[in-house]
């Protein structure tokens, strides 16, 4: 039947790679060779992007809000730090996975508290859990190093082959590869029936239950996965900076993360990544401009984005590049038409 094929065809189209996506990742790879002096900020963008992707999975797809996502970031960061300090797992990739799993366990355990209740109670519960963890890390300073942070983190070469270098090139490539792999997984998931059911739950939880979707089970699953992503982001932070201190749990980290996702837009996976790039650039520009007042400008950008609407801001920013692209396409089209004419 042709209607079947049509349905299948259209459904599958959703998961297909488009030119903009391919361009995005090509640019990411190109940045390794282009911005050779900027590996530190690029690395930050990569792990912040992964962290934002983690929040986007619950916020943009399942509609769960969080003001305490740093809890998972922090657990991942300390787990990676402790594994390295005590030499439990020396190989970074394996340590990364274990750190992510530690955050995942916490995510699963707390998911039951978070998924029930309104957005306000979600905000409060997530915020509370992050505060609790920060105080625990402070209290058990013999394990965590307290305010001074973990001392003596040394990260061994990745897979025993690639040592972290002083310029941060290896670290950036490492973060980028991890980001890409986890992005592929997220992309697979959001385009699956499972991912679709999350969007249905965000749209209308009442009707989701009324067509047989196990709402709570799905929310627990995505929250747990999101915690894993955040834990991996935290572990990447520790592995590339050799730092793990109390501020990995800080409220500012969770709040900035929300900002990143708002800047980039939720619910299409690239929002977190684009938001991370834009946020770090803005932070860099504003702080070199006015070291004391950069947060003022970040705040202003946030207010403008929310008031004017992200689409309109981006339409303004993208006006020139789009115009150039159109001109280019028209020129090429004209030339193609001309060769067609001369051929006939």
């Amino acid at each position: 039947m042709s209607a079947d094929r049509g349905v299948g065809e259209i459904s599958l189209r959703r998961g297909r790679w488009n030119a903009a996506e391919i361009a995005f990742w090509l640019i990411a790879v190109a940045s390794i060779f282009v911005f050779t002096g900027r590996y530190l900020i690029l690395t930050e963008m990569a792990w912040l992007g992964l962290f934002a992707l983690s929040l986007d999975l619950i916020l943009g797809y399942a509609g769960i809000v969080s003001l305490g996502h740093a809890a998972f970031f922090g657990v991942g960061a300390y787990a990676a730090g402790l594994l390295a300090v005590h030499g439990l797992i020396k190989e970074p990739v394996l340590a990364l996975v274990v750190a992510g799993c530690a955050a995942m366990v916490l995510g699963f355990a707390t998911s039951f508290l978070v998924i029930r209740g309104s957005e306000l109670s979600q905000l409060m519960v997530t915020l509370g859990i992050a505060l609790l963890l920060r105080e625990l890390a402070n209290k058990f300073s013999d394990i965590t190093g307290g305010f001074d942070g973990l001392q003596g983190i040394v990260i061994e070469p990745i897979l025993g082959l690639f040592a972290f270098d002083l310029f941060g090139k290896v670290g950036f490539i490492y973060c980028l590869v991890v980001l890409f792999v986890l992005f592929l997984l997220a992309r697979l998931i959001v385009n699956s029936p499972f991912g679709l059911s999350l969007r249905a739950i965000r749209n209308n939880p009442l009707r989701a239950a009324a067509i047989g979707i196990p709402v709570n089970r799905r929310l627990v699953a995505i929250y747990t996965l999101s915690a894993f992503y955040a834990g991996v982001a935290g572990a990447l932070f520790t592995q590339t900076t050799a730092l793990a201190s109390l501020d990995v749990f800080s409220f500012e980290r969770s709040a900035d993360l929300l900002l990143v996702v708002v800047i980039g837009g939720a619910g299409y996976l690239y929002g977190g990544l684009i938001g991370a790039v834009v946020f770090r650039i803005l932070q860099d520009v504003f702080s070199s401009w006015t070291p004391q007042f950069w947060q003022f400008w970040i705040g202003l950008v946030l207010v403008l984005i929310v008031l004017i609407g992200r689409d309109r801001v981006y339409r303004g920013v993208l006006w020139l590049p789009r115009l150039l692209l159109r001109r280019l396409a028209a020129m090429r089209g004209g030339r193609a038409a001309a060769t067609d004419r001369s051929a006939s």
């Binding site: 385009n191 029936p193 209308n204 009324a210 047989g212």
Partner: protein, 250 residues
């Protein structure tokens, strides 16, 4: 005899408000049963009790011979009890393909698949196409639901309930709010529901009730007033009094 759906002495109170009183309703398999009553009679509460959104203070619910009083909304759907909503409850961002695809995937046990895309299972595609065809939604199947004309959204509302393959379907005012020009499509869709599906229609619109139902129950103040075939109910003086009385009060 086993009924498709049966309530036995159903009772519900919200604080001091007694909204359902000792309600016993028997719906035969394959019936086209209508539940009517003036505003505030407690029809919506009955639907919420039947589907499991709220729990009764007393009484039992039996679906095809099995007690479902303690089951969750989802468990009832899986057992073949599905509903439509008086006010559309759809997924604004999702297209009709995705909307129906969800219900079909869930019913066939593929709803938790995270490693493959919707559209990669032939049996799911076939069922989506079948439902969309029956409800005349093929032409808009790839548009976000929020952008569809109201009549199409209303059709999708019913199609979504049917996609769960119910054996008992609760239709809550299917034609509510539909403009006159699109009304015929909705009525046709309701009339074309498969015969093997038992339908309980909750409705205000008397034309629809009398053209559709083979049995009618009239509720007043949370209790059953009259039950019988349409011609009997239409002649019943108590029913006339209720509807005329309501008019006189207003």
């Amino acid at each position: 005899m086993t009924f498709a759906l049966e309530t036995i002495g159903l009772d519900k109170q919200f604080g001091g408000l007694h909204v359902t009183r000792d309600l016993s309703l028997k719906i035969a398999a394959g019936a086209r049963h209508a539940l009517i009553g003036p505003n505030g009679a407690g029809k919506t509460t009955v639907i919420n009790l039947l589907t499991g959104v709220i729990r009764p203070n007393g009484g039992r619910l039996v679906l095809e011979g099995t007690d479902i009083t303690g089951l969750s909304v989802r468990a009832r759907v899986l057992r073949g009890l599905s509903r439509t909503f008086q006010i559309n409850q759809l997924y604004a961002d999702l297209t009709p393909i995705e909307t129906i695809g969800l219900a079909v995937s869930e019913r066939l046990g593929h709803g938790g698949d995270w490693w493959r895309r919707l559209g990669s299972r032939a049996e799911v595609n076939a069922e989506i196409a079948d439902v969309l065809t029956r409800f005349h939604l093929l032409d808009v199947m790839n548009e976000p639901t929020a952008t569809l004309p109201y009549g199409k959204q209303r059709l999708l509302e019913i199609a979504l309930a049917i996609a769960t393959r119910p054996r008992v379907l609760l239709l809550d005012e299917p034609a509510a709010g539909v403009p006159q020009s699109e009304r015929q499509d909705i009525l046709a869709a309701v009339a074309a529901l498969p015969r093997e599906v038992t339908v309980l229609l909750i409705e205000h619109d008397m034309d629809l009730v009398f053209s559709f139902a083979d049995r009618i129950s009239v509720m007043v103040n949370g209790a059953m007033l009259v039950e019988g075939p349409p011609d009997e109910v239409a002649r019943d003086p108590r029913v006339k009094a209720v509807y005329l009385g309501e008019g006189a009060d207003a």
